[in-house]
Symmetry: C2
Subunit: 196 residues, 2 copies
DNA sequence: CTAAAATTTCGGAAATTCCTGAAAATTCAA
DNA sequence: TTGAATTTTCAGGAATTTCCGAAATTTTAG
């Protein structure tokens, strides 16, 4: 693994960004390194390339495993474990989004659900309850959407993203043409949208 | 501000989650508190409600300001500053997403752009360059999409989310009907998806 | 089963982040 | 302008996180 200045910049940047992400610097660097490395690398090579201790590599790999970001490869005639990230950047992005949902949304969602189910939740705090309900509903919607996106393959996801807010236009068109494959939901929400 | 057990749980949870978010615990708590508080609160009230020092409140508020998450309110005949979050949860969510894009995607994107523009970027590392290019393209697409979503109002955004992957079905329909507002991209990607 | 190879765990040093009380700075009424 | 009210800054102690080297554990070839 020949570390050119450009690659070094890239890897270091991943180290910095790692911390904004719930990974520590080391895990970020490892992730960046494996991402741009053509071949799978073993722990010694990683530690060597990044100039960090063997045990630190171990911890970093463990953390990345917990994020489902690694694939381990066994090489014929070599006892060491070799690691890479996946080949498909879109697949990686999907994993990332899924893991972040799990860490950042799910806990809050279940906290809200639990709180809102409590009998004495009201107790003179109608506003607070209303707000929690609003947040709960928003999170439910977002989670559902994210889950649905996970079911699309990379190509289709790209198509959707490229279309961007153009989707809204398509929706308008389909409405005008009265094309409905889910009449109830769409018609209600679309009418709610323009109460005129 | 009457802190019921439920509200306390809520606020504490926000404190915990804050750290997974680039905020510190205090800022997270303040954010949670202001979110479920019907009335704007001043720094003393906040510090009092959360049991934290006045200077800590100051830092937390500053941080939340940097996230564009606060609205400050002046109350007639009171010199203190009063703070709330916005009324519309969707607006808050939008702000959050925008700020996270700014912090988590933009820097990586510009790093990649810079790196890929360097003359000597190749230098025997074709694979690394290819990967960086892939990531660059992905981020560009995601950023564009996020920006477009920001242009939609809350109602329309909800409609889109509710539709979820149903959008893909709508796309298929429009393809069948030869309705195209962006013919080149859509037709190519959709055919690529099913090469049969 | 044994022994070498490889990996993980663990204690503690170093670095970073968090939080407070005190002091400085700012704002505003009079 | 003065002075009280309010907010911000700052130094340093507390708490947390990161990281290393050594020791313990696991794995596997022979």
């Amino acid at each position: 693994m020949n570390i050119t200045p450009t690659i070094d910049t890239f890897v270091q940047h991943f180290g910095e960004m790692g911390s904004r992400w719930g990974l520590n610097r080391t895990a970020g660097q490892i992730c960046g390194l494996l991402f741009i490395s053509e071949n799978a690398m073993n722990a010694d090579q990683i530690g060597d390339a990044l100039g960090i201790s063997r045990s630190n590599v171990s911890g970093g790999l463990k953390e990345l495993q917990a994020w489902n970001l690694l694939r381990s490869v066994s090489i014929q005639g070599d006892r060491k474990d070799y690691f890479t990230t996946g080949d498909d950047v879109w697949e990686i992005a999907r994993t990332l989004i899924d893991e972040r949902r799990r860490r950042e949304i799910d806990p809050t969602f279940s906290m809200l659900r639990t709180a809102l189910l409590k009998e004495d939740v009201g107790e003179g705090n109608d506003y607070a309850v209303k707000r929690m309900q609003e947040m709960h509903d928003l999170l439910e919607l977002v989670m559902g959407w994210v889950n649905e996106m996970q079911t699309l393959n990379s190509q289709r996801l790209q198509t959707l993203l490229k279309l961007g807010s153009g989707v809204a236009k398509v929706l308008d068109m389909t409405d005008k043409l009265s094309l409905r494959d889910a009449p109830d939901e769409r018609s209600t929400s679309v009418t709610a949208q323009k109460p005129s």
